[in-house]
């Protein structure tokens, strides 16, 4: 799925990375606990979260995730967006709740991918 399609399905605003919307992503992870993202993400390229602090961006950066979707209408502060911009991460903001956002994307073919074990 292209990131542009994620934006369309979630009726999301693109906060940065406009020029990267054609990038293809295969799987995603919906999570508010950053340590869980750090523990289990393998190749998921999209992080869907309700948190809006700089550590969300750094976590995505550590895991080479190229797109963050902020849900529940959360608007990340400008410094969070600029941090993501510097890290080449596309940032979307959607009014959908976490459960609905994940469900819509899953239903449209964005899988959960596999996770790290052990």
């Amino acid at each position: 799925m292209k990131i542009s399609e994620i934006a369309k399905l979630l009726n999301a605003e693109v906060l940065c990375g406009e020029e990267e919307l054609d990038r293809e992503v295969k799987s995603a992870c919906g999570c508010d606990m950053m340590s869980d993202v750090l523990a289990f993400v393998k190749e998921q390229a999209v992080l869907i979260t309700g948190l809006c602090n700089p550590q969300v961006v750094r976590t995505a950066q550590m895991m080479d995730m190229g797109c963050i979707v902020f849900v529940r209408g959360k608007m990340p502060p400008p410094e969070v967006v600029s941090l993501a911009e510097k890290a080449d991460i596309v940032v979307l903001a959607s009014k959908e709740r976490m459960y609905v956002a994940c469900g819509v994307l899953y239903q449209n073919g964005l899988s959960g991918g596999s996770v790290l074990h052990g």
Binding site: M33, S35, D36, L38, A39, R58, M62, E79, G118
Partner: protein
């Protein structure tokens, strides 16, 4: 380290480039949760420039990042030293924080003394130390209550 062995490179964090390893050093600001993780991001960038494989880079950056967060939320910051050899990367995180009274307990998945405000920021699930152990080939914790904690991690390349 004798100054004669030092070669300046264009990487600002490189403290010393010896015959067989490169050392990166960072002061971790304990006052500032917002900047926590900056050193790990820089290490990740350096390793990528040096041409390490993505798997090694991820192991080092995730374990250092969790350790850096710990120094900020539990220990008022400290010092991070990363020694990069051809066959291994050694990360040393040293702080003068409160120390860890029971290391076995601290290592248990889910054990955390982090305050609620940290939890609402996405950390404090008690998964940091277990993650660090999982991503590294060797990990050693030395800690004395009231004196500080030093975590040493080795990732083999």
């Amino acid at each position: 380290m004798p100054a004669a062995f030092c070669t300046k490179t264009d990487c600002p964090e490189v403290v010393c480039s010896m015959a067989d390893f490169v050392r990166l050093e960072y002061d971790i600001d304990g006052e500032n949760f917002t900047s926590a993780g900056e050193a790990s991001v820089k290490v990740k960038r350096s390793l990528r420039q040096m041409g390490f494989d993505p798997e090694t880079i991820r192991k080092v950056s995730v374990s250092m990042y969790e350790g850096e967060i710990n120094m900020v939320i539990h220990a008022d910051g400290g010092k991070a030293t990363v020694d990069i050899y051809d066959d291994r990367i050694v990360i040393v995180l040293a702080d003068r924080g409160p120390g860890i009274p029971d290391i076995d307990l601290a290592m248990q998945a889910g054990y955390s003394t982090a305050p609620d405000n940290i939890r609402s920021l996405g950390f404090g699930a008690g998964m940091g130390l277990p993650n660090m152990a999982k991503y590294t080939d060797e990990m050693k914790i030395e800690s004395e209550v009231g004196v500080g904690t030093t975590v040493t991690m080795v990732v083999k390349v």
